[in-house]
């Protein structure tokens, strides 16, 4: 009964979304407030209905109701409770339901917090948002119904893919989806602006918080996914340039460009047409990512059980949404007025450079991801484009971006002074040299890595430059500088953290790739494995039983200078239901580096294949990601972006004046 309620709620949500797709638009054209209000009401209704639908499926998963096909195929009654719940989105049908649930949530958020948006624009935005929702409800109902029943109900489920039985599944997909789907709001705003034919600085001010919110979650989602892959796949890699990773990385790059160009639009009314295009493209890349993952056109470690009929349906959705939006853009954009002139060397100029480089980087990833597809279509040859291509093309594109990063905030709007900015960055250049020298003293070669470490230090120091400049540190007493720094807008702090995060990630990547150590060997119990100043004493294997698996656990005693500092227990798990094995790596954090041990085959001669890695400063890769996301949160909490803040300040000022 409960799954049927969920199914029915989904159908009702479709009905509401169809009404919401049309009525508010008519209202906006005829200036009818009642019709326009259908947008707001509909958005709330969709959200409530989706909560019911999602809740019903969650209930079926929680109770291990194997009469529901999706539960039977992806769950097992012996799984820990947390995985019973998360296996909901560990499969195509359930994850689509999560996707539309988040879409409905964002619609409701716009309805709730969009009080300062002009009513007609808000109504149009909610209608566009509802087109997206309607298409995806239809997609779920027609091709991927998660509520399909089985008769008779099987007694036991088929278990969740063992690789997904990990806390990472609880965090990574929801974060990523909030990021992906969050960009639908910028998309809806862009399409609504094109429909209304009116775009101004205020538009950018309304869009930026939504784009920023989506960007924060996407950043966290990608960082989390990378860490999950790192510890779960057993060979210590944290980025594979896999098509699906690229699918999440492209919206991130485009979204980063969007955040910056929207800034120019908000402050200077320039780059309007370009910002609109970026808003459309960012969400389009999210949608294309969804298509790539679920249609089976490309092979990937993430592939869902794919089905060409679903692929055709998603392709139709892409044609309608992306094709429609771009057609509207081609029709309307030429008539939009460009504003705000600026010199090439200026804050605007630096942000244009940022946009050029970021879009080129996005295009590079896009070409690399789709090239095998195009080549096979044209010649039938099967190739795969791997890390060498991306490392060769992407890294040279990112170096100028990183060099330019600290300059941006130091240049004035309209016309900047590059010499003054360079002078203010003197200490960043010094930091670069010091950083490279420290790395040289500790590690020596290779020179490229030393230069990259220097670049990382430069980016971090350069990010702090604006803060030092504006707080007057080193020029005024420390207490005054501290007081001034606290008084700076939060967005300044946000910029600093986000930019410094880039430098941290870069340093982490360089240290891990250039100076990481690795040994692989077959060892008998009692053997000692030396690595990077540590010694691992292998004590032997012992069996252990988990809730739905059995494991062979290896015990390793970690010694530093002959003293025991801890125990690591990598294991191999055997899941009987799917007759699959997984290797669970053991990690030990030492400072910012990690020891990483993974088990390979257990051989006939009683030896065990063991891979041991020492990864210096590897944690910086993800700490950098966290710093970027934290910077985003600070910017989002800036009062300038807080909903209605300017109006409230004005009201208060007026009240004071009248009083």
């Amino acid at each position: 009964m409960i799954p049927e309620i969920g199914h029915y709620a989904l159908i009702l949500a479709l009905a509401v979304s169809l009404a919401q797709s049309i009525v508010p638009l008519v209202g906006a054209r005829t200036h009818d407030p009642v019709l326009m209000d259908v947008g707001t009401k509909g958005a709330y209704a969709q959200f409530i209905l989706m909560c019911v639908s999602f809740g019903a499926l969650a209930f079926a998963y929680g109770r291990s109701d194997f009469s529901v096909a999706s539960v039977f195929e992806n769950s097992h009654s012996l799984m820990p409770e947390i995985y019973k719940f998360t296996s909901l989105w560990g499969n195509h049908e359930g994850s689509m339901l999560l996707w539309v649930m988040i879409l409905a949530l964002f619609g409701a958020l716009v309805a709730a917090f969009g009080a300062n948006i002009p009513t007609s624009l808000k109504a149009t935005v909610l209608a566009v948002q509802s087109w997206i929702a309607a298409l995806f409800y239809l997609f779920i109902l027609i091709t991927s119904n998660p509520f399909t029943r089985l008769a008779p109900a099987p007694a036991q489920g088929r278990d969740l893919n063992p690789i997904l039985q990990d806390p990472g599944l609880a965090i990574h997909p929801p974060l990523l989806y909030v990021g992906y789907v969050g960009f639908s709001i910028s998309f809806s705003f862009a399409v609504a602006a094109l429909i209304e034919g009116r775009i101004d600085a205020a538009w950018a001010r309304w869009v930026r918080p939504w784009a920023l919110l989506a960007w924060i979650f996407l950043t966290l989602g990608i960082a989390m996914g990378s860490y999950w892959a790192y510890y779960t796949l057993g060979w210590g890699g944290w980025w594979f340039w896999d098509p699906v990773e690229n699918a999440s990385f492209m919206p991130w790059l485009a979204g980063t460009a969007l955040l910056h160009s929207a800034l120019v639009m908000e402050k200077r009314e320039a780059l309007k047409v370009w910002t609109i295009l970026l808003a459309i493209l960012t969400f389009s890349l999210s949608l294309i990512g969804t298509f790539i993952v679920r249609s089976g056109v490309l092979t990937s470690v993430h592939a869902f059980a794919s089905d060409p009929s679903r692929g055709v349906f998603i392709l139709v959705i892409l044609l309608l949404l992306i094709g429609g939006a771009l057609a509207l853009y081609a029709w309307r954009a030429p008539s939009l007025r460009q504003g705000g002139l600026f010199a090439p060397i200026s804050r605007e100029g630096s942000l244009v450079l940022n946009n050029l480089l970021l879009s080129t980087a996005t295009a590079t990833v896009f070409v690399g991801t789709l090239y095998p597809l195009a080549l096979e279509a044209l010649t039938g040859a099967k190739i795969s484009v791997g890390a060498p291509f991306f490392n060769l093309t992407f890294a040279p594109l990112f170096v100028p971006i990183l060099i330019a990063v600290p300059f941006g905030p130091l240049l004035a709007w309209k016309r900047g002074d590059i010499r003054a900015a360079t002078q203010r960055l003197t200490f960043a250049f010094v930091a670069a040299v010091v950083g490279a020298l420290i790395a040289f003293a500790l590690q020596g070669k290779p020179v490229v890595a030393l230069a990259a470490i220097g670049l990382g230090f430069y980016v971090i120091a350069g990010s702090i430059a604006e803060l030092i400049e504006r707080s007057g540190l080193f020029r005024v007493p420390v207490s005054t500088a501290f007081h001034r720094a606290r008084g700076l807008p939060r967005s300044t702090w946000g910029t600093m953290f986000a930019h410094a995060g880039l430098g941290l990630t870069l340093i982490g990547i360089v240290c891990e790739t250039a100076w990481g150590l690795e040994t692989i060997g077959a060892y008998k119990p009692g053997a000692t494995i030396p690595i990077g100043g540590y010694e691992l004493k292998y004590e032997g294997l012992s069996p252990r039983k988990g809730p739905n698996f059995t494991a062979d656990v290896a015990r390793m005693i970690v010694l530093r200078d002959g003293r025991e500092i801890g125990v690591m227990e990598p294991s191999k798990r055997a899941f009987s239901t799917r007759s699959m094995n997984t290797s669970e790596a053991a990690l030990m954090t030492r400072g910012l580096g990690q020891l990483y041990v993974a088990l390979g085959d257990i051989n006939a001669d009683k030896t065990t294949t063991v891979r041991v890695y020492w990864k210096p400063f590897v944690l910086l890769i993800w700490i950098g990601g966290l710093a970027m996301a934290f910077g985003g949160v600070l910017s989002l909490s800036d009062r300038r972006l807080r909903v209605g803040a300017p109006k409230m300040a004005r009201n208060r000022a007026q009240a004071e004046r009248t009083a």
Partner: protein
């Protein structure tokens, strides 16, 4: 028309054109997606053995497996000559094999072809139980207990199904299980092709 108007239309034209670029690029990508959608699973690589002779390895029979005409023999590579043969690599531990087994009973009803099985890395009693449960579609069953023959056949996962032509050459390889879907759309077509080749 004044000079100023002319200037404006001239300025507007290139911008109109530029605004169409994203749409055109998307159209090309969408066309690419459309053509690749119908192209099948990209993870399936073509077998390097197609067009090459079937491996020349005899496999012992599955002990105490009896058919209507007495004991079911093992695989003799010489027997590939003269008839179109379907070679199914299977094991009782392989889950998709259980799903495709009933379908092979249907395939075996076609008397123009011979259907044989290679029992891959399996235990004899479990293999016998498997055939008892679903019926035995195979005219011959060869036992490949250690997987050596599997290497020669280029097997990288069970189930896999080969079509060997009358000339003893491998004509086609199906990776993964037979399904009610691909039995007509793929396997029967390939069988007809192999039969037509004479």
């Amino acid at each position: 028309m004044t000079t100023q108007d002319q200037n404006e239309t001239q300025n507007a034209r290139p911008r109109m054109w530029v605004a169409l670029v994203p749409l055109a690029a998307f159209a090309a990508i969408a066309a690419l997606f459309f053509f690749r959608l119908g192209a099948g699973d990209p993870s399936k690589l073509p077998s390097a053995l197609i067009g090459k002779p079937a491996p020349d390895i005899a496999l012992p029979a599955l002990e105490s497996l009896a058919g209507p005409n007495g004991a079911v023999p093992g695989i003799d590579p010489a027997a590939f000559k003269g008839a179109v043969t379907i070679v199914n690599v299977w094991a009782s531990w392989c889950v998709p094999c259980h799903e495709e087994a009933p379908l092979f009973m249907k395939v075996a009803q076609d008397n123009r072809i011979r259907v044989v099985g290679v029992n891959y890395k399996d235990q004899p009693e479990k293999a016998l139980n498997f055939l008892k449960r679903y019926g035995n579609p195979f005219a011959a069953v060869g036992v490949d207990a250690n997987g050596r023959a599997g290497i020669e056949w280029g097997v990288y996962g069970v189930p896999e199904t080969f079509i060997v032509g009358r000339d003893g050459m491998i004509a086609y390889k199906l990776v993964g299980p037979l399904t009610p879907d691909n039995i007509d759309t793929v396997l029967r077509k390939e069988i007809d092709k192999a039969l037509a080749k004479g």
